[in-house]
Amino acid sequence: MYKLTDEGKKYLEEGLPEKRLLDILKKGEVSVEEINRELEESSIAISWALKKGWIEIENGTVKLKKAPKNIALQKSLKKVASEEKISEELKMDLIERTLIEEVREDIVKQAQRQLEQGKISNLTPQLIKSGLWREADFKEYDPTKTGKKESPGRKHLLSYYTQEVRRVFLDMGFEEMKGSFVESSFWNMDALFIPQDHPARDMQDTFYIKNPEKTDLPDKNLVEAVKDMHEKGCDKGKGWGYEWREDVARKPVLRTHTTAVSARKLSEIEPPAKLFSVDKVFRNETLDYSHLPEFMQVEGIVVDENVSFPDLLGYLKEFYMKMGFEKIRFRPGYFPYTEMSVEPEVYFEEKDEWLEMGGAGIFRPEVTEPLGIDVPVLAWGLGLERLPLLQRDFKDIRNFYYKNNLKMLKEAKI
């Protein structure tokens, strides 16, 4: 049961301040000073009327914008006075404005009823408000028991890692880049100096796309420069020495690496630049515990006149240290688009094993020259799924990524 407070009673008689304001305004525009003079609760009145969108103020003058036919709150004051029911929403509004309050006798009665029933299991608002909690005999709980496990809504395990990796690169001053899943062979391979008959283009590795049938190539000069590099090389390099075909370069693929995005970016930027992405790549492989047809790649490039191989090792080491790997080593690797190719390996203590994390290197001049870059470009493409696999010893990544085992996702430790 609720009853009107003194202020509530006053407004029942005189009308709510905002109602009285509307009454004044019905006669025409009025300045704020005049309202202040005429209305004791002018500031309450103006703020409520503004909130409801009834009035507007321009250059110190208050104008009526849209007056309501009747004011619901005013009506509900009347209803409370005559003990009629009102909506929960209006009730909350009235309580908030301290225009109504719960009848104390009711609260005491309810609290007493609770006390009569013996030991108290749940503390209630009635017990608190009446002060009768002082007489309560609280039931003993066993605080060593926590009850059943809660299952919160939370991020997917991999998201913790994606976010962490993104944070690390943003902290190191890298700008994030983004490209589309569908890419032309040109950007995915040709621009990276992968010859058109290279084993990497084998049907079993790359998803070729039937629809859309083909892609548009970039600027003619750029295409021509890439073609020349493949066919004839440059003043210092021999090239591959075969006939480069435009139709092969136009063939769309699902990008096999985000290095395609780096290549595109290189054709657009001026050094120095530091760019990264954490995004999905695709390989036409059969799904098993260690091969995923789609997975995340951590991509990064550093384009600068003064960078060299030790800088590349430095970026990689810094990254893995920040991701929580203390020991890292570097082994020679091979990628058709880098020279000084390196495969970083991190030491995984629980398994007493060094594990390969991906690839890195300095882009070959045959890659950078046609893209208009004449300074060294450090580049890497690292695995992401391996990080949770290693740190948490999850044996089969399919459970998380492809099968979405909700129990494991909810209980995964971080």
């Binding site: 993104r166 190191m172 983004k178 589309s180 899943f181 796309i209 859309p212 075969y242 020679p332 495969e343």
Partner: protein, 544 residues
């Protein structure tokens, strides 16, 4: 990539050094290969595709001798003219135009040499040779044949011989049908005439790239060898011949040249490449003197004098001075470089779409939803048929290995339905969501498609209805400061009169509704599901 297996004892004999397991496992990979395992006296390495010269135990041991400092510099391969010749007939031009040949004398064959030969041929065919399409190697007992030789293309029904691993005389088409290696005739299928190498008496030595003749089978008694390499690209054919013929040098054979259309083959003279030491020092951040540089590069089997690096003929991967830089780096030792703390300037900046997605993700988790990740690759059945939706134009794969990966998803909802189906035995209510990219056909883009960021979510429980989720969407949109209109929506996916679509400005940004029991039945889901899917890119870009 190719994994090769070497007998450790043999590798030790050819290297001239005892190889400890630490050396095999940890040091040798620093030369540029990957350790795969050591078992029963055999060691396995993965060889990178740029180094076909490491595919044989002989070539591998040679590189190892240099790397371990047991040997130095470019070996000068002495060759003599054999006086033999091979003519290329024009008929091969359309089918397999390139060939090269060499002769090796005074070999002492034994089982291990034969095994090594088999392995290297097989590996080169598979990788460098593109399954024999680009390169095929034939090795013959030279003493069974008489030059001059001819390489020509013939009517496959009119030429017959006894192929290896057979006793029967067959024509070329029969070989294609009956012989275990006959599958390689696939490479020739678009041609009427197929290539053969014949000797003076028109005896078939080889039917490249398919099979050799029984006539020239190499055995432990073979002393003199004839090598042919055929293919589609002359440079690669010559490279393969250099790699194979220098391998016999390691077994003390003497290499003799063959006159192939007037040119002496193989040409094993080292190529010279001018390398600026400043360039090397800059990229590696070292201060090598010329002498130090020369020492390092010799440790990789190269020669050096007067500003020029001499490249041994089997190092077919050297295309640019940059490749020399890498070999210097390997010789110096990757582990000996001082790692530098990088200091290239730059300001961190994230993609707007990621920033926005993170905000939305935080909100939707606040509503109690669990994030899941489903695959971009899917099929028509899941995306459309099971959802009782008309098929739409989507990105379609040409060569998927599995029927599950035929198309790129256009909707997130089917993936979420699959999650629920797979988790039906787990506790309820199930509230899941995914924020991820879908692929939309867009003819105006250079790649013909566009990635779109979407949010999909659903609730499944015994007792769940439209308002449980519609309220989530409207609160979400409210917090994001967007005021979409909601209209009635009709589709096979949702129950009639229990679905709405959201419209922001003139753009439809998504739908919400109770999943139709027919769709639940299609998926085998036994509890009610309400779901929504929104286009986050459209919401983010809306300026209302």
């Amino acid at each position: 990539m190719a994994v090769v297996s070497f007998d450790v004892k043999e590798l030790e004999d050819l290297t001239g050094k005892k190889l400890s397991s630490d050396l095999l496992e940890n040091k040798i990979p620093m030369m540029g290969c990957e350790f795969e395992g050591l078992e029963n006296g055999n060691v396995d390495y993965e060889i990178f595709p740029n180094r076909p010269d490491l595919l044989s135990v002989e070539g591998f041991a040679r590189a190892l001798r240099y790397f371990l400092g047991l040997d130095e510099g470019v070996e000068t391969y002495k060759t003599t003219k054999s006086g033999q010749s091979l003519e290329i007939d024009k008929t091969v031009d359309p089918v397999r135009p390139c060939i090269s040949a060499a002769i090796v004398k005074n070999m002492s064959m034994d089982d291990s040499v034969l095994k090594s030969l088999m392995q290297v041929q097989e590996k080169i065919h598979k990788t460098f040779g593109r399954e024999r399409r680009k390169i095929a190697i034939g090795i013959h007992d030279f003493d069974c044949i008489e030059g001059p030789f001819t390489y020509k293309a013939v009517d496959p029904k009119k030429v017959e011989f006894i192929p290896l691993q057979s006793t029967e005389r067959m024509d070329l088409r029969e070989i294609g049908r009956k012989h275990p290696k006959g599958k390689y005739t696939e490479i020739l299928k678009n041609h009427d005439k197929w290539p053969v190498i014949v000797d003076k008496n028109d005896e078939v030595l080889s039917f490249p790239p398919v099979i050799n003749g029984k006539l020239t089978e190499v055995t432990e008694d073979t002393e003199n060898i004839f090598i042919d390499v055929t293919g589609t690209d002359q440079r690669s054919v010559d490279h393969a011949l250099s790699i194979i013929s220098t391998l016999f040098w390691e077994r003390n054979g003497s290499i003799e040249t063959v006159t192939v259309n007037g040119k002496e083959k193989p040409d094993l003279d080292p190529e010279e490449m001018a390398v600026d030491i400043n360039y090397v020092n800059k990229l590696l951040d070292l201060e090598l003197s010329e002498k130090e540089f020369a020492e390092l590069i010799r440790g990789m089997g190269f020669g050096y004098s007067d500003g020029k690096v001499r490249i041994p003929p089997y190092r077919t991967d050297i295309m640019h001075p940059m490749d020399i830089v890498e070999d210097v780096g390997i010789s110096y030792g990757y582990s000996n470089f001082e790692v530098r703390i990088p200091d290239v300037p730059g300001v961190g900046k994230q993609q707007k779409v990621e920033e926005f997605s993170e905000k939305v993700k935080e909100l939707i988790i606040g509503f109690g939803f669990q994030e899941v990740k489903t695959t971009v690759l899917t099929n028509y059945e899941k995306q459309f048929l099971k959802m009782e939706r008309e098929r739409e134009e989507v990105t379609e794969m040409e060569n998927p290995l599995s029927g599950d990966y035929k198309i790129c998803r256009k909707y997130l909802l089917p993936g979420l339905m699959e999650v629920i189906r797979q988790n039906q035995h787990r506790s309820y209510p199930q509230k899941v969501f995914e924020i991820g990219d879908i692929v939309k056909i867009d003819k105006d883009k250079d790649v013909g498609t566009e990635n779109r960021r979407k949010l999909g979510a659903l609730i499944s429980n015994d007792n769940v209805n439209y308002s449980n989720l519609a309220s989530v969407v409207s609160s979400l949109m409210d917090i994001l400061g967007k005021k979409p209109k909601i209209k009635r929506h009709k589709s096979g996916t949702y129950l009639e009169n229990r679905a709405g679509k959201f419209v922001l400005g003139d753009k439809e940004i998504g739908t919400v509704g109770e999943i139709h029991p027919k769709v639940l039945e299609n998926w085998g889901i036994e509890k009610p599901v309400v779901a929504f899917e929104l286009d986050l890119d459209l919401i983010r870009k809306n300026k209302s």
